[in-house]
């Protein structure tokens, strides 16, 4: 029942009201909750998820640059060094290949490392270990050695950080069999998916987004419970609609929701799917949605060629071709390394207007309905 209620209501404030249990006022005051449901930032969501998983399982440990005394390069691991000590929260030298390999070796022996990359751009220095010693090991050893490791960190473009700090790696890692790739959007996603990733017995690449860390989202008490987790491989319908499906992940979900608001004023009801999981991709949910709306717009921040949108388009062509009333629209970042100048950077990343235009194109409408009435 709860699951059904959640699917219908999406993640707006109504959710908090439906799921809020009656609590005595003193309990609320003691925990500092706002009466109409709590909001937490993505940063708090990640921090509490790490804290709870480390407390529940002593074999979980953190390793990365500045995760300890600096409290985390983006303060995600704040307070964890004080709570768990230097044996479980390890500040490493600047040695991505080395410490990623160390994490993999520790995971071979049954520990559950959470390796932080300051950004996923730096993971390219360690990509051999992520792919060759982590992703492929369960297969190469025929199931003898599984690797319960999580690689997490910010992914994608931030603001004005230039070409070498702005690439999106979703398509790169989602290409590899043996990896699970997750991309949370809201605080609920961040908490639930990180907990699921840490508990998962396979290597998980957890792509966060720096610009989302400070954003607040309403969360229910269920989300705040320490046993909360979300299933890996299931997308979420953030907003129901019937005219066009927009798939997105990470920060782009927020943009898609804004675009959907604009489109609804024009009479186009957009269904926004928050993919949550890039590998395995929730093809069932995407296809079910396209079979309902008959039009698809895929949205991502990364480079267009061989990107996530290309895979989604092919999945829909393979399974739901007869249901498509229009060609699939693909919105991606510009096919250039990220420029530095602020105006060029804005042009290189999808904006809400681009999403609205593409959705209109998919619906064959170039002018707002109101004008033709």
């Amino acid at each position: 029942m709860l699951g059904a209620a959640r699917r219908q209501l999406g993640s707006g404030p109504m959710l908090g009201q439906v799921l809020r249990r009656l609590r005595p006022a003193s309990a609320d005051a003691a925990r500092g909750y706002a009466a109409a449901g709590k909001e937490i930032t993505v940063r708090e969501a990640l921090n509490t998820a790490l804290d709870e998983e480390m407390s529940a399982d002593p074999s979980v440990f953190l390793m990365g640059e500045e995760v300890g005394e600096y409290q985390g390069a983006y303060k995600i691991t704040k307070g964890l060094l004080d709570k768990y000590g230097p044996d479980r929260v390890l500040d490493t030298p600047i040695t991505e290949a080395g410490f990623t390999g160390i994490g993999v070796g520790a995971a071979y022996q049954g520990l559950r490392p959470v390796i932080e990359f300051m950004t996923f751009n730096f993971s390219m220095q360690a990509i051999d270990h992520i792919i060759n010693s982590a992703a492929k090991s369960n297969y190469m050893s025929a199931g003898q050695i599984n690797v319960p490791i999580v690689f997490r960190g910010p992914n994608g473009a931030a603001a004005g950080v230039g070409a070498q700090h702005s690439q999106c790696y979703a398509a790169w890692y989602a290409h590899v069999p043996g990896l699970k790739v997750l991309a949370p959007y809201s605080a609920e996603d961040a908490r639930g998916l990180l907990k699921a990733a840490i508990r998962d017995p396979d290597p998980v690449v957890f792509l966060e987004n720096e610009l989302l860390y400070g954003e607040s989202f309403p969360v229910s008490d269920e989300v705040l419970d320490s046993s909360f987790s979300l299933p890996i491989g299931k997308a979420k319908i953030e907003r129901k609609g019937k005219d066009v499906t927009i798939t997105a992940f990470s920060k782009m979900v927020g943009y898609a929701l804004q675009a959907a608001d604009i489109l609804s004023k024009e009479g186009i009801s957009a269904e926004v799917i928050n993919l949550r999981s890039i590998r395995p991709l929730d093809r069932a949910a995407i296809n079910a949605s396209v079979r309902k709306t008959n039009r698809l717009v895929t949205l991502e921040e990364g480079f267009p060629q061989h990107g996530v949108g290309a895979e989604i388009c092919m999945s829909v062509v393979e399974e739901s071709f007869e249901y498509l009333d229009a060609p699939v629209e693909r919105i991606a970042g510009a096919d250039v390394p990220m420029p530095y100048a602020a105006n060029l950077e804005r042009l290189a990343v999808p904006q809400v207007e681009d999403i609205v235009r593409a959705a209109r194109r998919a619906c064959y409408r170039a002018v707002p309905l109101a004008a033709t009435a």
Partner: protein
């Protein structure tokens, strides 16, 4: 050592007969290093190797028939035919691979050593002898790779129970160690990071064993890593596809005269530790073991088609494993809802 040598010779024969395929890297000549080190280990100690890993697997206790079947690509191999010559894994023997990229095994080994220390200090699960030790085997070419230095640093920084064993056979495919390295004395790179660096004659199994004992005991006591450079030589080419034209014949004969097996045999006979007849009977036994391994591998079935898609994930459905250890999606009460409370 005799098992290693005979096994590798048999591999060459099988390769030329077409039973084995792909990349096969043989260990002939280096047996003293493998035997000298690995025979000192216990079951929970770990070994991490490179693509030249057949004999490391045998020394660690993986049965010859499993290794041979793996090389033939049969379903009865130690990795059910999915790893192959370069990727030998055996969880019960704590053989953690088998890595094709040179330098890849060193951080993994350092991680296994980290896990041993973590188990001791954080999880409070100590073995009776001390810390479980990890041995990382790699070659001279690897010692110019960045990951090697990164791990020397971190292993010493965190005092991990690991021994870095360099099998310096002077050649990285066709690249001579002297042409590739600014300072060819690898053992000197240990003290640069604060750990002892030792050089040993890798063709003499007793000398190797002496050095190994000290290094392994050091690690077990928690005193940290050691870098051991073993001067050794491979009698065959880099792999069975290597024509081996660049190595000079006088270098090869110099090391062939120092063959570890003949040297040990001579020593045993001179010291009256065993008679010629006893040594011959050992060799006969080994011949039988290797023959049996080949017969077993020949008779074993190829992997079934269904095996192609197996074992990509430990948890393929991706919903996670519940507290009772079973896949959540197999629980009849599983609703595919978005939260588990």
């Amino acid at each position: 050592m005799v098992l290693g040598r005979n096994f590798e010779d048999m591999c060459a024969q099988m390769y030329y007969r077409g039973k084995m395929f792909g990349f096969v890297h043989l260990y002939n000549g280096q047996e003293a290093v493998s035997t000298g080190f690995i025979k000192l280990l216990n079951q929970p100690d770990c070994v991490v190797s490179t693509y030249r890993d057949h004999v490391h697997a045998l020394s660690k206790g993986v049965p010859a028939r499993s290794v041979m079947a793996e090389l033939f690509g049969k379903a009865t191999g130690c990795c059910r035919g999915q790893g192959g010559s370069m990727h030998m894994f055996s969880e019960p023997h704590n053989l953690l691979g088998g890595f094709a990229f040179i330098g890849e095994g060193i951080p993994v080994a350092t991680g296994a050593a980290f896990a041993a220390k973590y188990r001791h200090e954080v999880l409070k699960q100590s073995g009776p002898d001390g810390l479980d030790v990890t041995l990382a085997f790699f070659g001279d070419g690897t010692c110019n790779n960045g990951q090697f230095f990164e791990c020397l640093n971190m292993a010493q920084l965190w005092k991990l129970p690991i021994v870095f064993v360099v099998e310096n056979n002077l050649w990285a495919i066709g690249m001579s160690h002297l042409r590739a390295t600014s300072d060819p004395e690898i053992w000197k790179k240990g003290p640069a990071f604060g750990m002892p660096g030792v050089h040993v004659d890798g063709m003499d199994v007793l000398k190797v064993r002496e050095v190994a004992k000290e290094a392994i005991d050091r690690a077990r006591r928690g005193e940290g890593p050691t870098l051991v450079e073993c001067e050794t030589y491979r009698f065959r080419g880099h792999s069975l596809a290597d024509p081996d034209e660049l190595r000079r014949p006088d270098e090869k004969s110099h090391y062939a005269a120092r063959d570890p097996i003949t040297s040990l045999k001579k020593y045993i006979i001179e010291q009256n530790l065993a008679s010629e007849a006893e040594l011959k009977s050992i060799e006969k036994k080994i011949d039988d073991v290797v023959e049996e391994a080949v017969e077993f591998a020949d008779a074993s079935p190829l992997p079934p088609r269904s095996q192609l898609l197996e074992n990509v994930f430990a948890d393929p459905k991706g919903f996670g494993i519940g507290p009772d250890g079973k896949y959540r999606c197999e629980d009849p009460k599983f609703t595919q809802g978005t939260a588990q409370v």
